[in-house]
Symmetry: C2
DNA sequence: CAAGATTGAAACCTCAATCTTC
DNA sequence: GAAGATTGAGGTTTCAATCTTG
């Protein structure tokens, strides 16, 4: 994950002056910089538990699924490619948080199953994440939240 | 760079319901998701020129400097560790965009110098980036920009 | 041949250790 | 010893190629 903002220079040297957008700085890089900073805060909080956003995302996906998921299903739910899940599960398995189990009906598939330690750490990590989220959120007034959220939607 | 949002699940499964923040979704992950989406758009645009945000950032840092910079100075300006610059310059040098030159006075230092091709591609890439930025920015009304920018500042 | 998973290679980032030079 | 740069290793992500099974 890109850490922090290396965008300060881009802001000052970009060619946007001609578009008559002075004063308000550059919203695009402000957005990216703010997101990186916030993401870094969440990662730091999870790192205290030996976790990362990527790992917790897989753990929470498994924890909230109604049945054991194949690696392909995990990839679909977290919106990434299969090979990413393969390596993520490699690390989670090395950490003793997840186990690979053969699919009973389709021998091509492999199902990821949380271990006891995995289920415990998922709860712990999610709690830490919620707390970190709330910390960030607390800095923004309630009235501003919906507004910002709407505008963020527009930018995508 | 994290591509797109694998945060849809985190939004629905987070434990923030208890904080009485329903309706407005989750601003924190909306922010991260929006930034990733926008960053992806910028990267895609630069990729058409064989560039990335990371590479262009180094190129533009060199282009706007008043004199040749050491690798350590580049690292300081783009806010990353030295070893990152070493590898970035490795790739830029392989692309023929940058040259390493020995420092005349301090034999420990190495200065990065733009080649002709590097100077040309920097201009090209910066123009493409400005255009991509403007495209994103155009979706947000002028009145909203300063407002969002202020709130983004709060969240960091 | 499609689909599921893995492997190999690459980009991007970080940290710790090392090597040269001051 | 401290500073500048590099190397080695690991994490996260992607793509293309491969291997097994359907």
């Amino acid at each position: 994950v890109l850490k922090y903002l290396y965008y300060s220079r881009m802001n000052q040297a970009d060619g946007l002056a001609e578009t008559a957008e002075h004063g308000a700085g550059n919203l695009v890089f402000s957005l990216i910089a703010a997101a990186h900073a916030v993401e870094g805060q969440l990662e730091d909080r999870l790192a205290e538990h030996g976790l990362s956003l990527a790992k917790l995302n897989v753990l929470s996906t498994l924890a909230t699924a109604s049945e054991a998921l194949t690696l392909g299903e995990v990839a679909a739910r977290i919106h990434c490619v299969r090979s990413n899940v393969t390596q993520l599960v490699d690390r989670l398995e090395a950490d003793g948080l997840v186990r690979r189990e053969p699919d009973p009906v389709d021998r091509r598939s492999i199902r990821a199953v949380l271990t006891e330690a995995g289920r415990r750490l998922q709860r712990e990590g999610q709690a830490a994440l919620d707390e970190a989220q709330a910390t960030v959120l607390a800095r923004v007034g309630g009235a501003d939240r919906a507004l910002v959220e709407r505008i963020l939607g527009l930018m995508q």
